[in-house]
Amino acid sequence: MSASERKSTEMTYREALNAAMVQEMERDDAVFLMGEEVAEYDGAYKVSRGMLARFGDRRVVDSPISELGFAGLCVGAAMTGLRPICEFMTFNFSILALDQVINSAAKMAYMTNGQINVPIVFRGPTGAALQLAAQHSQACETYYVHAPGVKLVTPATPADAKGLLAAAVRDDDPVAVMEGELLYNVKGEVPDDEYVIPLGVADLKRSGGDVSIVTHGKMVHVALQAAGKLAREGIEADVLDLRSVRPLDVQAILETAARTNRVVYVEEGWPFAGVGAQIVALVQEEAFDDLDAPVLRVTQADVPMPYAKNLEALAKPGADRVVAACKRALYAGEEA
């Protein structure tokens, strides 16, 4: 059944995440939600609205502000086959929990020779919102994908939010689902039925042919904006949304690279050892002969996020910088 044939409803990204959690909790009692303010407060960003009333406090649980503790507790529960959804109010705070994510969750299956797997979801917003300053504005993807053993998806649209979160819950490994505070109000059509998008399948959000903008998460919207600007100048861009950073849809990346011969990676994180660094390595290793230009990256400026509005705007990867990078890849016009 194609997306156009299925029944769908317009809803926000926030509601789509909620729908996925409700869908999965209805079908499997092993799934529970734990995190700060997820129950009585309906979630700091209201993603879990109504879930306490629906599922009760056995399955929708407010935790103390103890990220290392409740993430570890969820990993422990997952070691016995429960399927926790561990919400971080934002992924910035999950840095406190990284020991349990990386030393416990990521390595468990391997260390135990497959005796124990950890079917857990870590979810919450990643990246910057508006003027939240250094400690509250960081893209955390690299921390998670650097360690083998963790999977990572980054939905950009409401439909992807529902489908990818459902898939994450059903997956038998630890899956981080990184959302965006600035995405929660984005609206879109979301399939009504049990909707699951397999991990590892990228989505060509725009088909152009002149240059490939490859990206993930919130930056998909920046890439589409940039593609719109380029179109007004007669340049048609592919926008490939990875959706899933690990597993990575290598085939889709190589296909767009082969079609346009020019690739620009856009990400919200810092450049050093970022997701884009991995994509650059991959493309030059596997598609060197297809390339007509170096693979470029547009990232957050390589500094902690400043508070001041004007400096923050300079630090973030915006559409204009993506446009400039695409032109550079096309050897057309001014420098990035």
Binding site: A133, A301, A308, L311
Partner: protein, 340 residues
């Protein structure tokens, strides 16, 4: 000598003036936030001014204070200029961190104010570290480390208190116990009382009514000297109440606390009103004096607002400044192709 409850009129009046300044400052911060002059997460201290004045004013200039993100008034109490704090909230170049830090990250090393930290509990081991450094250098300062009630549930709290006790560090951990961490009452995330939380590490616990600024001041004046004399780390449960929402984007009341509860606290437990009434009753101040004091502090706040408004935004060319303290002439520090 004119006294109120054993405190001289001068000290009492200056505490009242301090708290009034904090209140007016925060009220203007709220207004500025609503019209977009201030952005991001912004947590005001309204209702909790008694602790800022009562705990910090007895300190010496070179003592150190470290706190979380609800720290505007604590910064003022430690001697930071209202202008520098307001300009920071506006994200301007004359702010105490040049506009880089914002509401949650106020710092002034010269004044001994060591932040302004946004990760719940992050400042607790840092406070231990500041105290460690004092002891290491053989100094006679102490460190005051503020935290919220919810922060005691972070593992870092236990680790920091234990180390402080083991090494007898000159630090006072002050819990601003306003009863809630965001929308979660302390009793929902703890089966023990606040005073029981430090004992397991051997750090003595004390409770003080933070709405009674006189009691808070007298208590901290004594405790600070004890710690300076080598009494070792202390834990103070300063009981207070947050009159506003958790941050500017949160409601004042809701499912987690009833409007009636907030209203009653605001009427009965306002630290400013409590001291004002005592001064009135003791005949040490009249309505005219109060109005004059209020006019004075309002002028200070207005001056800070004007200053912040006129201060320029940070120059775009400074984006990469201070990411590192030391530039390196051999290798490239910034890998984004923009910073040099």
């Amino acid at each position: 000598m004119a006294e109120v409850r054993g405190m001289s009129r001068d000290v009492a009046l200056s505490l009242l003036g301090d708290m009034l300044l904090y209140r007016r400052f925060e009220e203007e911060v709220e207004t500025a936030y609503k019209i977009g002059k201030i952005g991001g997460f912004c947590h005001v201290h309204i209702g909790q001014e008694g602790i800022a004045a009562g705990a910090i004013k007895p300190l010496r200039g070179r003592d150190l204070v470290i706190s979380a993100y609800r720290e505007h008034t604590q910064a003022l109490a430690k001697g930071m200029a209202p202008r520098a704090v307001m300009a920071e909230l506006f994200g301007r170049v004359d702010g105490c961190c040049g506009g880089r830090g914002g509401s949650m990250h106020l710092f002034d090393v010269d004044k001994g104010f060591m932040g302004g930290h946004g990760i719940v509990g992050g400042q607790i081991p840092l406070g231990a570290g500041l105290a460690w450094a004092i002891k290491y250098r053989g100094g006679d300062q102490i460190c005051l480390c503020f935290l919220g009630d919810a922060a005691v549930n972070q593992g870092a709290f236990l680790e920091a208190l234990n180390m402080s006790a083991v090494w007898r560090l000159p630090v006072i951990y002050v819990v601003e116990n306003n009863g809630y961490g965001m929308g979660t009452a302390f009793s929902r995330v703890s089966v023990t009382e606040m005073e029981e939380r430090s004992g397991a590490c051997g750090v003595p616990a004390h409770t003080v009514n933070g709405q009674d600024v006189q009691a808070t001041y007298e208590f901290f004046a004594g405790l600070a000297e004890d710690v300076r004399d080598g009494a070792g780390p202390q834990f103070v449960n300063a009981v207070t109440y947050r009159f506003r929402g958790h941050s500017m984007s949160d409601p004042v009341s809701g499912t987690y606390r009833a409007k009636e509860e907030v209203d009653r606290q605001v009427v009965e437990q306002d630290p400013i009103a409590i001291l004002r009434d005592r001064l009135f009753e003791a005949g040490l101040m009249g309505q005219d004096d109060l109005e004059e004091l209020d006019a004075q502090v309002r002028a200070v706040v207005q001056d800070a607002l004007d200053f912040a408004e006129e201060s320029p935004r940070p120059d775009a060319g400074t984006l990469y400044d201070h990411a590192y303290a030391e530039v390196n002439e051999h290798g490239r520090l910034f890998l984004d192709g923009r910073g040099s």
